[in-house]
């Protein structure tokens, strides 16, 4: 089981969500975060005084997938979040020791399998 974490441009969240849904991946958690990578910060001006803004707003998307879903999920995020400009963000995968669906107690792949409502 894998945890995919993607730090993306806030404006790309809608695209990423839709792109994941096309692969049947509907469960995800989204957090507003702040940070910077190679992009660095930006400068804002208030009444002529410059303020250095070191941490820019980003969106962190997290979702848990099994080995079978992994590549398609990564593809979905890549294709939707990439603009080619500095500041697009990062994408990484962490191996998980245990995943469980709280409602049913299902474990492993069954815990992240799509549920028809």
């Amino acid at each position: 089981m894998n945890l995919i974490t993607a730090i993306i441009q806030p404006a790309k969240l809608g695209d990423v969500k839709e792109s994941l849904a096309e692969f049947g991946l509907t469960g995800l958690t989204v957090t507003e975060v702040a940070g910077h990578g190679a992009q660095g910060g930006s400068t804002e001006y208030y009444r002529g005084t410059a303020y250095r803004v070191d941490f820019l707003p980003k969106i962190k998307v997290e979702l848990v997938v099994d080995a079978e879903q992994l590549e398609s999920a990564l593809d979905a995020i890549r294709s939707a979040a990439r603009t080619g400009e500095i500041g697009d963000g990062k994408l990484w995968v962490t191996a998980l020791a245990h995943v469980e669906r709280l409602r049913t107690g299902e474990k492993g792949s069954a815990a992240v399998a799509q549920v028809t409502v």
Binding site: Y45, Y46, R47, G48, T49, A50, Y51, V53
Partner: protein, 410 residues
């Protein structure tokens, strides 16, 4: 007083009252989110304290029979006792209107103390400032000689014969200089001030100020008259070009036009038209706004370069703005406008220049020096500044046990 005149004045009064929440939101939005409520409290508290001291003694200091042109004799107006019956001239209305004039002047001074002053000390300072700084200067400017009633007025109005329509000197230059003096006594902010936390809130505040200014200038016209029509028009125009003047200079300097710049220019334009609304042509009013907005924008980076921390720039916006607006009358006063002053560019008499310069220098010097002395004395006796840890934690939670936002991350 005619019922029509009184009807307009009562409406104008309500508009001017909107300037207090307006100023509170304008300043509150411009600060970091940890000091917002404190700023709002200082502005609203300024009006509250003013009402008490103005009614008890202030009105007579401003409008009472002059003692040497310097200060009114308060004896006959103590406690607003004389305002309980209709004297037919609207004196009771003016009593109420003057409370707002005094209150808004002190409220502007609050900006100089943003983010680092004890709240109780602020209220005490506001009372002293009303009596020792505002009242004398307002007397100089607002008290007219009245030969029929045998009353002598203030020296700037009657001896120097300045032109100041609605308080460019007594309200704006006075408040701007006082904010600077108070900021210097308090010293720089220790905690990193950060960016303005809510510019839309500041825009709402500036908008309410504009609405209030219509009442401020329109009410100063004294009734439902052509003069009121004229100054309302001028107040609209100068606000509009104030926005343009400020952002044009910003664009040239930083390459950007900003929202904060636009509303700062708006307020600067309104400050500029306060002394000049009855004395310039409509094109002149557009120029007053443009010049004031541009000048304030251009000068705005001066104090930070001098390492002076006057947090919300009242000195620039109200002090320098008031001076520029006053000088506009000297330069291009229009003979056909209600005040009938011919500016020197149109061949007018140069003698208006010294009248205005005396008024500017007297107001600024007196306001700065006396405010500085009051603040310094209070600082020695009770201490004006909050402890450093309170400043870092934010005045809202530390002094008032509240926070403006429960959703924010900081």
């Amino acid at each position: 007083m005619e019922a029509t005149d009184l009807a307009w004045l009562l409406a104008a009064f309500a508009l001017v009252l909107l300037m207090f929440p307006g100023l509170a939101l304008f300043y509150g939005g411009m600060l970091g989110s940890r000091h917002t409520l404190n700023m709002i409290m200082m502005v609203m508290g300024a009006l509250a304290v003013t009402a008490v001291f103005y009614v008890v003694i202030g009105h007579g200091l401003v409008l009472g029979d002059s003692i040497g042109g310097f200060i009114g004799n308060p004896v006959e107006m103590l406690g607003f006792e004389s305002l309980m019956t209709d004297d037919g001239s609207g004196s009771t209305f003016w009593g109420a209107f003057y409370v707002l004039f005094a209150g808004i002047s002190i409220a502007i001074v609050a900006s100089g103390a943003a983010g680092r002053m004890k709240f109780g000390a602020w209220l005490g300072f506001a009372a002293l400032w009303l009596l020792l700084v505002y009242s004398p200067i307002a007397h100089w400017v607002f008290a007219f000689d009245d030969e029929e009633a045998g009353v002598t007025g203030g020296w700037l109005r009657n001896v120097v014969q300045l032109h100041d329509f609605a308080g460019g000197t007594a309200v704006h230059m006075n408040a701007g200089m006082a904010a600077l003096a108070l900021a210097l006594v308090l010293g720089k902010r220790k905690a990193f001030p950060g960016r303005p936390h809510n510019l839309p809130l500041a825009v709402l505040g500036a908008g309410l100020l504009w609405v209030g200014w219509i009442g401020f200038n329109g009410g100063t016209a004294g009734g439902a008259s052509f003069l009121a029509e004229y100054v309302v028009l001028a107040t609209l125009l100068a606000g509009c070009t104030g926005m343009l003047g400020f952002v044009i200079v910003e664009k040239l300097r930083e390459g950007r036009t900003t929202t904060l710049g636009m509303i700062t220019g708006l307020v600067a334009g309104l400050v500029g038209i306060t002394p000049s609304a009855d004395a310039v042509s409509p094109i002149g009013a557009l120029l007053v706004g443009l010049f004031t907005g541009a000048a304030v924008s251009w000068l705005m980076t001066l104090l930070p370069k001098l390492k002076i921390d006057e947090p919300l720039d009242a000195f620039m916006v109200h002090g320098m703005g008031g001076i520029v607006g006053t000088l506009c009358v000297v330069l291009f006063g229009a003979a056909a406008a209600p005040a009938g002053i011919t500016g020197v560019l149109f061949g007018g008499d140069w003698d208006i220049l010294w009248r205005e310069l005396v008024a500017i220098v007297a107001t600024c010097l007196y306001s700065f020096v006396v405010t500085f002395v009051i603040a310094k004395a209070m600082d020695k006796v009770i201490g004006l500044r909050v402890d450093e840890e309170i400043e870092f934690a934010g005045l809202d939670t530390s002094l008032h046990a509240e926070s403006a936002y429960h959703l924010s991350r900081n």
